[in-house]
Point group: C2
Chain length 132, copies 2
Amino acid sequence: MLGEKWTMLIVRDAAAGKTRFSDFTDSLGVSTDVLTDRLATLVSAGVLERRSYRSDGSRMRFSYHLTETGVELNTVLAALTAWGDKHRPTEAGPSTFYREVASKRPVTVTFLSEDGIILEPAQVEVAPITRR
Amino acid sequence: MLGEKWTMLIVRDAAAGKTRFSDFTDSLGVSTDVLTDRLATLVSAGVLERRSYRSDGSRMRFSYHLTETGVELNTVLAALTAWGDKHRPTEAGPSTFYREVASKRPVTVTFLSEDGIILEPAQVEVAPITRR
DNA sequence: CATGCTGACTTGGGATGCCCAAGTTAGCGT
DNA sequence: ACGCTAACTTGGGCATCCCAAGTCAGCATG
């Protein structure tokens, strides 16, 4: 369900603090019919939560916020961002980075072995689970 | 360039040791014209390497192998797999897991602070880089 | 209470991408 | 010369996406 064209980009923007329908169209350029559909599937998958809000002088609006489930996609986003920054850099360089909320210092995404040792991607493999 | 429908699934299968054109069609069910195109873009992006091989009694064939750049997507794949296993489990349960090559013991993907402390996704935020 | 305004959709028509089935190509063995 | 097979290529149909325009629901203003 995350594999459709705009889905992860919407999640990324949501993680960056965007909440409103027009925030997403403005920053992504996604067409509005597709955005409506993707927001609905993300809400029903429990990644986003739809809230009503009301700023004075205007009517009720909706905003979209990452749930705890959605926040857990931060790991995926940060790993993907790190890969893109390293292997497919833009001329302007990266425009965002991931940091610790408390200290504001940058963080990394890494593999850890059971005894807490950092592993490189090449030291990791995928293996089938065999049940009897 | 990783965002198209079958791209990450092909990378995942390549990480699981699949190498041949027919391996990918058999396990993914991707149509052959699309597979041809995705393999070509992955090769030209430096994620896969195309090799010729020859088993006796048959003609030259091609096989596709992850490059070092491609192997570094393991972090993304493992993070995504962990999220899916937790939040969108199938009835049958997970069919693969990520493990250390040397010890065969399972590994995890986590955020690390600069002083090597494990951080939860909720303790991490994305911030803009401001250049002067 | 009529009118304008705006954010969040909804709709219609065309373009792009994907699926499926069938066909093609290039060696190798017989 | 012929069959065999993995790796494509091609053509037609269908699903998804894009874009522009329209709708709808309040809130403010006159």
